[in-house]
Subunit: 190 residues, 2 copies
DNA sequence: GCTCAATGAATGAACGTTCATTCTATAAAT
DNA sequence: ATTTATAGAATGAACGTTCATTCATTGAGC
């Protein structure tokens, strides 16, 4: 596969992300995706077996990019609390810079269009992040609640913080975001 | 409008809720909605001007039922902290009993299908709930962060708690849910 | 007999997917 | 160096299906 053909595949994924995050899966025709990507409709079917395959590939793509950025600047050697808050701040920063990714992930994380296999692969990309939570628990820094619950609470609150900044009446500055993240830490800390 | 026709309108809304929460707006045909509601397709158009009107009416319907139940057992005379946690617990209980409502609200709260007017009307139904947060702030019980941010954090975390119980590997018992809500209170309390 | 709620067949627009064809780039032959 | 052959990437018109919406018809209540 040459670089040019790779770029067509990538263009299809990017167009799908933009359009589906605004109009939804059933609301965006393949013809529109092709138009936005500046490629022929048929070309999409060279790289993806159909519309459902396209959205599953996009899911993996977006989720792995998020997982990678979440560990941005992370150093094993820093205190656990600091690392946890950095991690949440990275999630905030990533989604503030990539709102279409946020809308897409939020809409399709629990959708029947995403296959079980795709979902599992998406979870696997987040293992390094989960390991950090395990360290925090082992250091006795977290509440006596299931680890899954603590990470879910933190993630849910973090997403709502991003949405507030993006869609609220005025976006939040960096200091305000840190205040929110600190509040989220209070929720999970022992 | 007789009781029978009222029941047809309600049946249409209920069928729309069930199907759209599973299949999405563009994924559920009007014909299927009619079939599920045991009414003719044309009948829907007697009560709603079209598919978009139908989903907007449903949005108001669901949101007002949630707002009503959120104040279940609420007494002005109780301590503010207790009231706040009751309120969050009511949201949890309501959505655990009505998962289709949860999926619907989550999918369409930020959708372009919901008009600005509908959205505003939905917000208005939650005014009594927001007033409780204002009381908590005036009593100096909350963090020095914007009120909108605190309520958003609490709501986001609460929703994620419900989702964990509904879709997690094992649902959470009442005591566990209270533990989660207590953690959420820690996030917003001073 | 009149009114109006209720119906679902009919309609035309829009959809996902296919595939015969064109285009492009590299290899082989001279 | 030039021509020819081959492979497979790219295309979009065409197909069959599905959809939201309409409306002529039916039937229940008064």
């Amino acid at each position: 596969m040459t670089e040019i053909t790779q770029s067509k595949k990538a263009a299809a994924l990017q167009a799908t992300l933009e359009l589906i995050s605004e109009q939804g899966f059933h609301g965006t025709p393949m013809s529109q995706i092709a138009q936005r990507a500046n490629i022929g409709v048929g070309t999409i079917y060279r790289y993806f077996s159909g519309k459902e395959d396209l959205i599953n590939a996009l899911y993996i793509d977006v989720k792995s990019r998020l997982a990678q950025y979440t560990l941005h600047n992370y150093l094993e050697t820093r205190p656990v609390r600091e690392s946890c808050m950095l991690l949440l701040r990275n999630i905030v920063d990533y989604f503030l810079e990539h709102p279409a990714e946020l809308m897409f992930i939020e809409q399709y994380a629990n959708s029947p269009l995403i296959t079980a296999a795709t979902r599992e692969e998406g979870i696997r990309t987040f293992e390094p992040v989960n390991n950090l939570f395990k360290h925090a628990r082992e250091a006795n820094l977290l509440k006596d609640l299931p680890l899954e619950m603590l990470s879910t609470l933190a993630y849910g609150a973090t997403i709502s913080l991003v949405k507030l900044s993006l869609f609220g009446h005025n976006k939040l500055d960096s200091h305000m975001l840190d205040g929110g993240i600190s509040a989220i830490w209070d929720a999970i800390k022992r």
